[in-house]
């Protein structure tokens, strides 16, 4: 290789190497801020090594699975409450509004709202988090015992408190 080309090669590799290092350091430092949401365990136990807990009144997003049997709807309004779980503790979400079509028990969701007390969030927006599994209804029925029920036909489970 000609010395001129070699010099250019080293210069470019050096630039890429330094920038990669800088970006990696930045992303590492911002790690917790890039996460879109808290999981219920992070909310209850605190986040990261220093176990920082969000404060009451703080706006945040919470993401987890809707606990089976925890969805309570108010028959006269759009008020709904449900519990979220990941691996440990439960967190309750209160919401008033239209839920996304994919919302159901056992579904992953992300809710944005204000922390009311240690484990309750008053949500202003509820988003469904879809997983990466795609399958026809028959396969889902055979594999998971899931039958697709549109939210309009879902039974009202429990009563709203």
């Amino acid at each position: 290789m000609q010395p001129r080309r070699q010099k250019r090669l080293f210069a470019i590799v050096l630039v890429i190497g330094l920038l990669t290092g800088a970006v990696a350091a930045m992303l590492y430092a911002l790690q917790q801020n890039i996460d879109l949401f808290y999981t219920p365990s992070q909310l209850v136990d605190g986040l990261g090594e220093s176990k920082i807990k969000p404060q009451v009144g703080q706006r945040l997003r919470i993401g987890g699975m809707v606990v089976e049997g925890s969805v309570k709807r108010d028959p006269d309004s759009l008020k709904v409450s449900f519990d979220l779980v990941d691996t440990g503790p439960l967190v309750t979400v209160i919401y008033e509004g239209i839920l996304p079509d994919l919302f159901r028990e056992g579904q992953g969701i992300v809710a944005q709202g204000v922390l009311q007390d240690a484990t309750t969030i008053k949500a202003s927006e509820v988003l469904a988090k879809h997983d990466e599994e795609y399958m026809p209804p028959e396969v889902a029925d055979a594999l998971k015992g899931i039958k697709h029920v549109p939210p309009s036909q879902q039974p009202v489970s429990g009563s709203y408190e």
Partner: protein, 244 residues
Amino acid sequence: MFKWLHPYAKPETVYHLCGRLMPWLMGAALLLLLLGNIWGLAFTPPDYQQGDSYRIIHLHVPSAIMSMGTYSAMAIAAFIALVWQVKVAQWSVLAIAPIGAVYTAIALITGMAWGKPMWGTWWVWDARLTSELILLFLYLGVIALSGAFSDRQTGAKVASLLAVVGVINLPIIHFSVEWWNTLHQGASITKFAKPSIDPSMLWPLLINILAFKILMLALLCVRLRTAILVNEQHRPWVKALAGD
């Protein structure tokens, strides 16, 4: 080691090679696109949760994969252009950039169209969506920089440098759904694991991925040929070609 490559540094050779390959690539791409889309949109079963809305995956995933694939092709061309200063590589960078920008835009737009009914929102600033948007800006940056200097050579060089540096974004896009928690789901097809998409839906998706790949090469051939003619317009071989 790379001696066999040397003839392809000559614009005239590349021009004729692209001319020969283009009709085949374009034909194959259109055929596969027709097959993959008709199969995917009309003849696959609906998803158990999303119903028919999931069918946008047949456009979204191929364009998203190729937005990154096209970027790596552009970055490799830019690297060769910077280190070895091969003119054809330099022109390839500028020929590839708009193709990749369109793929990225398709991925973002189809993703938003799917996100509104499924997630409940058009856009959320999670790591995957944000890094893919940055990819679009990198493409637009390369296009804009190449035209921002009165000296075309300087512009092309600066654009190539941006293209090479922007490669850092590719692993970030790819691993964003694993490194951070995001609203965007993880990958449905990976190289090593069994795909988490049912085989009846997988085949048209794979066909479309291949089709988008070949379409990118076909479009590159068209654009590179034009770039070669524009840049070599005063050379005898182009004059002879035009004279015929």
